[in-house]
Subunit: 280 residues, 2 copies
Amino acid sequence: MRGHRRQRCELSQTDSGSDSEESDTETMRCISCKEVYGRCDAGTCKECYEEASETEDELKREIEDLKAKVAFLRFCSPFDHHVSPPSSAIRSPPAPGFTDVVLVAASDAASIDSLLPVPAHKAVLVSRSPVFKAMLENEMEESRSGTIKITDVSYDALRAFVNYLYTAEACLDEQMAYDLLVLAEKYQVKHLKAHCEKFLVSKLNWDNSIMSYAFAHQHNAKHVLEASLSLITDNMDKLTKKEEYMELVEKDPRLVVEIYEAYLSRQVNTAAPKDSSTKP
Amino acid sequence: MRGHRRQRCELSQTDSGSDSEESDTETMRCISCKEVYGRCDAGTCKECYEEASETEDELKREIEDLKAKVAFLRFCSPFDHHVSPPSSAIRSPPAPGFTDVVLVAASDAASIDSLLPVPAHKAVLVSRSPVFKAMLENEMEESRSGTIKITDVSYDALRAFVNYLYTAEACLDEQMAYDLLVLAEKYQVKHLKAHCEKFLVSKLNWDNSIMSYAFAHQHNAKHVLEASLSLITDNMDKLTKKEEYMELVEKDPRLVVEIYEAYLSRQVNTAAPKDSSTKP
């Protein structure tokens, strides 16, 4: 592929004549943005440009292939059967979708929501979560009864959770990301956890930093923890004035200690070269 | 993003001095391959090079994300349960994997193979194939009996077919690609059909061109059909000497006519400009 094929110059000589005044700065025209550039702004030669374009095309083709694969592997959500109107008059009874288990949001407050079961396939749950796998393959209570009770979760979050197990898709806002991350951690659905963490890191700001930090600590969300801790230690001067800070000192002072330890460790690391020079 | 930031030139002036003899050809050094290039080999400026690199990095990240999604959505194949040794002593009976249907390769010759059932989940079959969907959701014989008989297929091909429905993966050789394409066409599994067609097109050569052409015709494989027809019409001088050609004339002369029609149409199209000039 490499090895310079010297192509015939497409630029006319009159073109170079007009640039004669700045001939010592040596200008060329960029094949991409069409602007003239000088020696110090040189990017690539034509051959490397073409190779890079080919690589980009190959990557785009790979993306298309992977997207098609995702579309193929996405599972029909069991909700599709309930939501969509019957597509054919022949199919008179609503299609059951062959579900063989239901999940129930068993919150303490017995709202109407908590009575709505979320249908699912054991095979899908087992395929996505090692916790469901252990639960359903080992003849535990849930396997026998065909009902999995999940506490401390809303019906909406549970439904979004099950939907993610089928489709790898979730429509997130911050609350939903928190709820789904808790479920993902509990049932060891790593892909969903990473998805929620990514979303929460993107939504991180000074206002929600301490809350995010405490949440990340509680639910073992390492990326959120790192990002929030970094944001907090960047703004130590404002920290003690925050209401959430006072609350955290009251509620979980150990976490506050960890903030100070991280801050201290950063300071020591920054000062390290000076420190070592003072030692004998 | 655009708009030239003129960076300080990193090349020393002594460098340009050594090139003074060819100052009218104007040379630069490629940031990628490090070779010197002239005006006619100019690719991009530095800024466009950096933008292209960023794009490439973004595409690569997208590919990583999609690969993780595919890995998440890939379904446990029902064979995994049968092949792998029991992972835990507690789980004494082999895990059923909650399969609720079996597929059987019901070939005419009652070999031992044809007796081996391939277990599967109705939900997976329904999710991947509109034909299985109609069959299983409409209380047809197969749904009631829990057994789907598939004729004219080997056990290995059937197993590979079911495995693809779970994983979007198949280990292909030419024979397997032919077998799976037939099943993919029959059960309308487009993703698998495209996969097989791509493989068969990549394996196309003069020796298998007529066989591929006839096969593609029979099973509605458009990409294989186009590619094989193009290969055949590129080599019309050798065509009539081929044994497969004689066989096709015997067996299905209509297909041979289509080869000649395609060849003629190609000739007419190539000659079109001359043709039109002779008309009044």
